[in-house]
């Protein structure tokens, strides 16, 4: 009589769709096993790099963020490149160059036989067109306009000669980091150059070692090897920058082999990868300095003061006291886990040409007793509660700003606050978003702020931001500078180095600038964080570091690492990707099937149970 129950409307139909879906799913997911590796013919060798950078634009005229800038280095050739060993300028599009005796005219010989990826020859005219567009069109100057600001004219008298005429002598003429765009492609985009983001049709016409072949926002950027590249074809067939919103996921992906390279690791992540199978670690010198900026009192270019920076900071003794209280080696050990170099000069030691360190007698820090004594001397007396007051009797309080997104700021703020507290200076620390820090800095409303810059092989830019001219023209206006520093000695040295075409002499001048910055103590370099990287040595056999021997792979000033990378034993067509996806897919199906079976069985067995 159980049979009567089966006639119930709807009952058999309710189980059928579930089974149907499960079977369909099974079919979908089990099928890839036999078809998983299609076309056995020559599997592509793919190098996947994890990145958490975002892309503001793929247009070489607009992109300012690190990731697209790195991609442009790979897909567009530049006038010159930097040597992988020691960063000195080496030929790229230009094979040779010479400045005129008056230092104002540079003539470059342009390599012949180069081709754009659509077959059109690359000539000096493309370079001239690109530079001229940046000189005449404000939108086109968005990303790299600072390089051409001093250019009077750029001409290509023939296909293999480029002539640049300068307004003033400029020592950075071999460090023009400007991607050169193909004139025949970009001419039609001049009208919308400010908005065209160069991601409409792929592959994108370029002339670098790689060709940009696909891009999905916040997912990946795919580059194919350019077989016709003049320096030689890259060894990997494809280079993929895969986006991860969080850094931990990158490390996990590397461990599993979802990606082959992960850069910008934290000390914790770096340590955790020690001893991991098939992982090679690189503890390279960093290109970044990390500093504590002390507000000298904001002023405009014509000296008008504004903002509410604490006037006490104008007293060199106070600034020195602050720096005496800070224990830089402790920051390197605690915040960086030892992966960094204690800060000295303005330029990181990776750029050995410009490295400066203070004489032993001038080394400061880690001396709270001396700090206290200096403050006493300057008239900032300790009250009975241990807090100091300014000479006119007000409580001595400093505001410290840091950025949420820079992980080290919160930690360093905690340390600095404790150290300054110990010598009686009250510190209120605000770790806030970048925009708020920017607003406060622009308005001059801060006392202390953490500050960090990536330095290029030619340090001109980071030097320029500390000149008087880099201050804002009007109070509260935006400004190219950093900390309202204005020191005439420094400015004279800056002017001298930019027109000094002798490399050694220029380096000497720059070191003197660093010394001046150090004694001023407005921009105090706390440390240079090392660059921590890791890659899968089963996929990447070898690649070139820049500089050598303690350089880096990702974020180089050339394209050496990705261009030179040789495939290792396990490198092949994203097989590691496909394989586990199938395994995971099968696992999903197994679980679903098991659940369905369990359900059906249970339903059967409960048919006779109590309702």
């Amino acid at each position: 009589m159980e049979g009567t129950g089966h006639i119930a409307e709807g009952r058999p139909t309710s189980r059928l769709p579930a089974l149907a879906i499960a079977l369909l799913l099974a079919a979908f997911l089990l099928a890839p096993a036999p078809f998983g590796k299609p076309a056995a013919a020559a599997p592509k060798k793919v190098l996947t790099v994890a990145t958490n950078g975002s892309v503001d634009s793929l247009s070489p005229f607009l992109a300012q963020r690190v990731l697209p800038t790195e991609v442009h280095r790979l897909v567009y050739d530049f006038l010159t490149n930097y040597d992988p060993k020691d960063d000195h300028a080496v030929p790229a599009m230009a094979t040779s160059w010479s400045p005129s005796p008056d230092k104002l005219t540079w003539t470059y010989a342009i390599r012949s036989g180069m081709k754009w990826s659509d077959g059109v020859p690359v000539t000096a005219r493309d370079i001239a067109w690109t530079y001229n567009l940046m000189m005449t069109n404000k939108d086109a100057a968005t990303a790299n306009g600072n390089f051409v600001a001093n250019f009077k004219s750029v001409t290509a008298p023939d296909d293999s000669t480029l002539v640049v005429v300068l307004g003033k002598p400029q020592a950075t003429m071999l460090a023009l980091d400007i991607p050169v765009a193909p004139q025949h492609v970009w001419e039609s985009h001049v009208s919308d150059i400010g908005t065209f983001s160069n991601d409409a049709t792929f592959p994108i016409v370029g002339d670098g070692p790689f060709i940009l072949s696909a891009y999905r926002k916040d997912q990946y950027i795919q580059l194919d090897a350019n077989p016709g590249y003049w320096r030689g074809r890259p060894k990997f067939d494809q280079l993929i920058f895969k986006h991860y919103a969080n850094q931990d996921a990158e490390v996990q992906a590397l461990k599993k082999g979802e990606v082959d390279f992960a850069g910008d690791l934290t000390p914790a992540q770096f340590n955790s990868l020690k001893g991991a199978a098939n992982i090679t670690l690189n503890n390279g010198d960093g290109k970044r300095f990390y500093a504590l900026a002390i507000n000298p009192g904001a002023t405009t270019t014509n000296g008008k003061p504004f903002g509410d920076g604490n006037p006490a900071l104008k007293d060199p003794l106070v600034r020195q006291a602050i720096m005496e209280a800070i224990d830089k080696p402790a920051l390197v050990n605690k915040t960086l886990g030892g992966f960094g170099v204690v800060g000295q000069g303005y330029i990181p030691p990776i750029f050995s040409t410009y490295t400066w360190s203070p004489p032993a007698t001038e080394t400061v820090g880690s001396d709270p007793a001396k700090a206290s004594q200096l403050l006493d001397q300057a008239g900032y007396r300790k009250g009975p509660d241990g807090r100091r007051t300014t000479p006119d009797g007000k409580p001595f309080t400093l505001r410290l700003y840091g950025e949420t997104q820079r992980a080290e700021d919160a930690q360093n703020a905690t340390f600095v606050k404790e150290w300054l507290d110990a010598i009686g200076i009250n510190v209120s620390a605000s770790i806030v978003d970048q925009a708020t820090v920017g607003d406060n800095e622009t308005a001059g409303n801060y006392d202390l702020a953490f500050d960090s810059w990536l330095v290029n092989p030619d340090p001109d830019f980071v030097l320029s931001i500390q000149t008087c001219g880099a201050r804002p023209a009007t109070a509260g206006g935006s400004f190219p500078g950093d900390n309202f520093v204005c020191d005439s000695t420094y400015d004279q040295l800056y002017a001298a180095q930019i027109s000094e075409y002798d490399a050694a002499a220029r380096a000497g001048l720059i070191k003197r600038m660093e010394a001046q910055l150090f004694t001023d103590r407005y921009v105090n370099v706390l440390y240079y964080p090392n660059t921590l990287e890791a890659y899968r040595n089963d996929v990447i056999g070898s690649m070139q570091m820049q500089p050598q021997p303690n350089g880096i792979y990702d974020g180089q000033d050339g394209y050496w690492s990705w261009w030179s990378a040789t495939p290792g034993a396990a490198a092949s067509s994203s097989s590691h990707v496909g394989a586990w996806a199938v395994v995971a897919g099968v696992a999903v199906v197994a679980v679903v099937l098991a659940a369905v079976v369990l359900l059906v069985v249970r339903r059967r067995s409960t048919a006779q149970e109590r309702e």
Partner: protein, 286 residues
């Protein structure tokens, strides 16, 4: 009054989950209040941190150390103070706003009520996190901002409940009589409606705290709190920023996370038991 309180207590005791939740809650509050007894300023100092950074649990550091080398046990204990304080203060704010809106909307009919309920409905459907995050990101960064952001976004649920209950209460004969005798709006709301709403508001408060604690952790994770203050949320944010997740430093990830789960769960259990005690119709739903 004390008789009904005793009866409520007896009723409450019948809800085993509620009793467990209450016990857990009392323990957490005791630990948070008593934290200064076990944790000194030095234990929380970054400069004078007693251990090496990110050490796994040992006999000396039962839960290991965090990225500064501070004992995770001390950090988790101390974190309870800010997490609980933020949770409670934000809830007081949201329940305050919600109750006021609810009573006013329930007492005054007509356009006042309509307007208030429109606003409430609007806030009710808005995604709370998005609203709170947007608020926190435009205001000055800090713990107070977090409290305000949560308080300003979490109230509409309470407002609706309180309004419904107010409508019921105002229909009761003694309130009608009071109104007929010429009692003013303020008098009716304060003397007749509010006292009878107290149990409901209490239950609602208890239920809201867990949401507020979760929200605090979430906002901290999104970098919208003050990372120099030790709370469970900022501890997790720090853990993630230094890469503790991929380093597999489970002792940094688990204590604050589990603490959040335990406290949120404890508040939820208490709230549900309270609700069931006060509203027997819900019996068996616990």
């Amino acid at each position: 009054m004390s008789g009904s309180l005793a009866r409520s207590l007896r009723e409450y005791r019948n809800h085993r989950a509620g009793v467990v939740g209450l016990a857990a809650l009392l323990l957490f509050v005791a630990l948070a209040v008593g934290a200064p007894l076990f944790v000194t300023a030095r234990d929380l100092s970054a400069v004078y941190a007693p251990g090496a950074p990110r050490q796994p649990p040992s006999s000396h550091f039962l839960l290991g150390t965090d990225a500064y080398g501070r004992s995770m046990l001390a950090v988790t204990l101390w974190g309870a103070r800010i997490s609980l304080a933020v949770g409670l203060l934000a809830t007081m704010m949201s329940v305050g706003i919600g109750s006021l809106t609810g009573i006013v909307a329930g007492h005054f009919r007509g356009w006042v009520s309509t307007l208030l309920m429109r606003v409430t409905d609007w806030f009710l459907v808005l995604p709370t996190l998005v609203l709170a995050a947007a608020l926190a990101s435009v205001m000055h960064r800090g713990i107070v901002t977090v409290i305000i952001a949560i308080g300003l976004t979490a109230w509409p649920g309470t407002a609706r409940l309180v309004r419904a209950q107010t409508l019921t209460l105002e229909a009761r004969p003694y309130v009608e009589r009071a109104k007929a005798l010429g009692a003013g709006d303020w008098h009716v709301m304060r003397r007749h409606v509010l006292p009878n709403l107290t149990p409901l508001i209490l239950a609602q408060t208890t239920l809201s705290v867990s949401a507020a604690i979760l929200m605090e952790a979430t906002l901290a994770f999104l970098g919208l709190s003050d990372p120099t203050k030790v709370s469970w949320g900022t501890t997790l944010q720090l853990a993630q920023q230094v890469g503790a997740v991929s380093a597999g430093d489970w002792w940094i990830l688990l204590p604050p996370g589990l603490a959040i789960v335990a406290v949120a769960l404890a508040f939820t259990l208490c709230g549900r038991a309270l609700e069931a005690t006060l509203n027997p119709r819900l019996e068996g739903k616990g």
